[in-house]
């Protein structure tokens, strides 16, 4: 039995030795061979997609975009057992980093490190798949005579706008631009050299950008917009949350801007202040800073409120009083450093869409909707007279009301709800109160060819010279898209249009504002819902071209966008400084024009 075991072990050992010798004899040594090479986006953050090389003999050719190639990871396939080295360093596919800014050689040997084959990796430039102008400017040193300073273009899609001074000579300007490596830039077939080529920019100039192999082109139109002034951001007010409806006005006596607003009640319960939330606040903007001139000085404010300054600079506010039932209108004024009530219960039923204008300290007009009618209150310094407007035909149910005025007259703009009168769809009215009586400047009006007066994109203002300006929206021109249309009321009792319609299709939330500078220039501001991020755009009517300017887009670039109605408010002081405010994330943003 013991002998048998010995024989079995011996036989097994002999078999193992024989097997081992047999295996050694059959070892396969693959000749060096590199068959595939690529750069994968997953291994290289600078690449947006995978780039596969062609391997031709010992040449490896790959085209990469214009990216930093100093630290790229290659993925390669070699025969089993092959060893790959670059400058003596062993390579691992998908792991090892190399500098591909210039050609490098991959040396592949068999598993014994013998029979080396050198593969040269040639990296060339791939044609730009999205040729574009990525920067555009007129450098001051290259346009010293015409401009004297550098002007940087704003690139929006394929349009490049450059704001230039009003009187600049734009017939011979040298543009500086950047584009992707290998791209060619031409204008009317003439190759452009950044910082060298001269063009006449009296009309828009189209730059064609062509990629390396001509397979993709793009066109960029450069338009120079003559600017009357410049918009700059002012300090944001965020001491307390600001509710919708804040309004900025300028004291006609000393040009100091005032803002009145309702304090916003935060959604979070622990952030609320029941004593102050939803009550009125007032601010002044003095020496570049906001000053509080009234804090939670009212009853709780309902859904609507408005603010005005009399010609002598006395502030008045009107608001839907949320502390009474029904919620009717209360009016307060500021004098001697405190706020006091000058009118309560202006109305007998709940009011809405409340607006007011002070012709004088003792002539304040409140217009509002009550019981589906326009309802007016007039303060004469000691008492209120209330009722409808006799001159307003049929007192149709209003959809919206706005007010404006000066020291002589108050004006009410209103849009009738649906076919409230004579089957006219959302007709609009402009009514004038001269301190004694009302008259109609326009009633139940709908522009010929329009489906309706737009229920966004409207506002009314009175210019420093007393001219009434109106911005409304309609689709009269093509029965399809709604555009802003600005009109003014002439001394002869007619209305005339200011320029063509503004080149912007009204969105459903285009709550616009109109303001007139002391030199008579008309400005319109509106939320550009189509921009990303959303912006507040401002255009002005260019008296030289009789055309609306290209828009200037304002936004603080903090990544926070306004939601819904940004509650624009827009006014000029007597020296031509513009103040434009809006609300974003319960903060009051302001831009100044000068």
């Amino acid at each position: 039995m013991q002998k048998n075991r010995i024989w079995v072990v011996a036989a097994a050992l002999a078999g193992a030795v024989a097997l081992s010798v047999s295996c050694q004899e059959k070892e396969i040594i693959n000749p060096p061979s590199l068959t595939a090479f690529s750069f994968k986006a997953a291994d290289n953050a600078v690449l947006s997609e995978d780039y596969v090389a062609t391997v031709s003999g010992t040449d490896i050719n790959v085209a990469l975009p214009d990216v930093d190639k100093s630290a790229l990871v290659a993925t390669f396939t070699v025969a089993e057992g092959n060893i790959v080295k670059v400058n003596g360093a062993e390579q691992t596919s998908g792991k090892t980093v190399n500098n591909f800014e210039s050609a490098i050689t991959y040396v592949v040997t068999d598993s014994h490190g013998e029979n080396p084959v050198s593969y040269k990796v040639n990296v060339s430039l791939a044609p730009d798949k999205h040729p574009a102008l990525t920067f555009f400017s007129f450098d001051g040193d290259k346009n010293a005579k015409a401009l004297g300073k550098t002007l940087v273009g704003e690139i929006k899609g394929s349009e490049i706008g450059v704001a230039v001074p009003q009187l600049a000579d734009i017939t011979e300007l040298v543009a500086s631009f950047t584009t992707g490596a290998g791209n060619k830039v031409t204008v009317n077939g003439v190759e452009q050299v950044s910082g060298v080529t001269v063009n006449d920019f009296s009309n828009p100039v189209d730059y064609t950008v062509t990629n390396l192999d001509g397979s993709v082109n793009a066109i960029f139109s450069v338009t120079l917009n003559r600017q009357k002034g410049e918009w700059t951001a002012a300090p944001t007010y965020e001491a307390v949350p600001v509710h919708a409806g804040a309004r900025i006005l300028v004291n006609p006596v000393d040009d100091v801007p005032f803002v009145a607003f309702k304090r916003h009640q935060p959604t979070e319960a622990d952030a609320r202040d029941p004593e102050k939330d939803e009550k009125m606040y007032a601010l002044k903007f003095v020496d570049g800073a906001w000053q509080n001139i009234g804090e939670a000085f009212s009853d709780k404010v309902g859904s609507d409120y408005d603010f005005t300054l009399s010609p002598s600079g006395t502030p008045f506010i009107a608001f839907k009083n949320g502390a009474v039932s029904p919620q009717v209108t209360t009016v307060m004024t500021y004098a001697g450093g405190s706020w006091s009530t000058v009118g309560e219960n202006i109305g007998t039923a709940a009011t809405s869409k409340i607006h007011l204008h002070a012709i004088a300290d003792n002539k304040v007009v409140v217009c509002q909707i009550m019981s589906n009618k326009t309802f007016v209150g007039i303060w004469d310094g000691s008492s209120w007279t209330t009722g409808g407007i006799d001159a307003l035909d049929g007192n149709p149910r209003p959809y919206e009301i706005r007010m404006a005025g000066d020291g002589a007259n108050a004006y009410m703009f209103s849009i009738n709800r649906a076919k409230a009168l004579n089957d006219v769809n959302y007709g609009h009215n402009v009514m004038k109160f001269d301190g004694t009586s009302w008259s109609g400047l326009r009633q139940n009006y709908l522009r010929e060819g329009a489906t309706q007066t737009s229920i966004v994109g409207y506002d009314i203002t009175v210019a420093p010279d007393g001219t009434v300006y109106l911005v409304t929206g309609d689709n009269a021109e093509d029965n399809e898209n709604y555009h802003h249309r600005v009109e003014k009321y002439n001394a002869d009792g007619t209305w005339s249009q200011v320029g063509g319609t503004i080149d912007y299709v009204l969105s459903s939330r285009c709550y616009s504002k109109i303001a007139v500078a002391p030199d008579g220039t008309v400005f319109v501001a509106y939320p550009n819902e189509g921009a990303s991020p959303k912006t507040i755009d401002v255009v002005y009517f260019d008296a030289a071209t009789k055309q609306w300017s290209a828009p200037v887009s304002l936004g603080n670039g903090d990544g926070v966008e306004y939601t819904g109605d940004p509650n624009l408010s827009f006014v000029f002081d007597s020296k031509g400084k513009g103040y434009l405010t809006w609300i974003e994330d319960s903060k009051l943003l302001m831009y100044n024009f000068q």
Binding site: P131, S158, N203, P204, D206, T208, T210, G214, S215, V216, N217, A218, I219, S221, T223, E477, D478, E480, N481, H483, S496, Q497, V498, G499, G500, T501, D503, Y504, V505, D542, A544, T545, K546, Q547
Partner: protein, 155 residues
């Protein structure tokens, strides 16, 4: 059994209904002209002194050879080229290179009062393409976008 017949009947009605609502398929390449906001009509003030950009667009599969679109600018009896407007884009044609789908056509408007009793329109009309495989205007009987009519008005 009754349920089976009801289901069959419902399916038949549904199929018949779908067939009736089937819309014609328009998938041929086409070319159109419009304003910057996509309209085929526009109004300009008679006193305007500015250049306005209009656009000719093409809709087709990706292409490698340039496509040429010819256009003509004509006007009514109330306005005249050189007096009321100038065509800035030369040659009556725009060339679309590969990757470009919209080309500008510009008119410089001049301050000149018009007689409102006359035809004060300026029309940009597409007259042909090369290659000639493009439908002029959006596909469909209305051929919307085959021309853009701009009316000059005393505002």
């Amino acid at each position: 059994m009754k349920l089976k017949y009801i289901l069959l009947l419902a399916a038949a009605v549904l199929l018949a209904g779908c067939a009736k609502n089937e819309l014609p398929l328009f998938d041929e390449p086409f070319v159109y002209v419009e304003t910057s906001t996509g309209s085929n009509v526009s109004v300009v003030g008679a006193d305007m002194k500015a250049t306005v950009t209009y656009y000719i667009g093409i809709s087709c599969p990706a292409f490698t050879d340039p496509i040429v679109v010819n256009f003509a600018v004509t006007c009514g009896s109330g306005v005249a080229e050189g007096v009321d407007y100038d065509v800035v884009t030369p040659g009556g044609a725009v060339t679309f290179l590969p990757g470009i789908w919209r080309m500008p056509v510009r008119i410089q408007w001049k301050d000149h009062a018009i007689d409102e009793s006359k035809d004060n329109t300026v029309t940009i009309a597409i007259t042909g393409t090369s290659p000639g495989t493009f439908t002029i205007g959006f596909p469909g009987p209305a051929a919307k976008g085959s021309k853009l009519v701009i009316t000059k008005k005393n505002l």
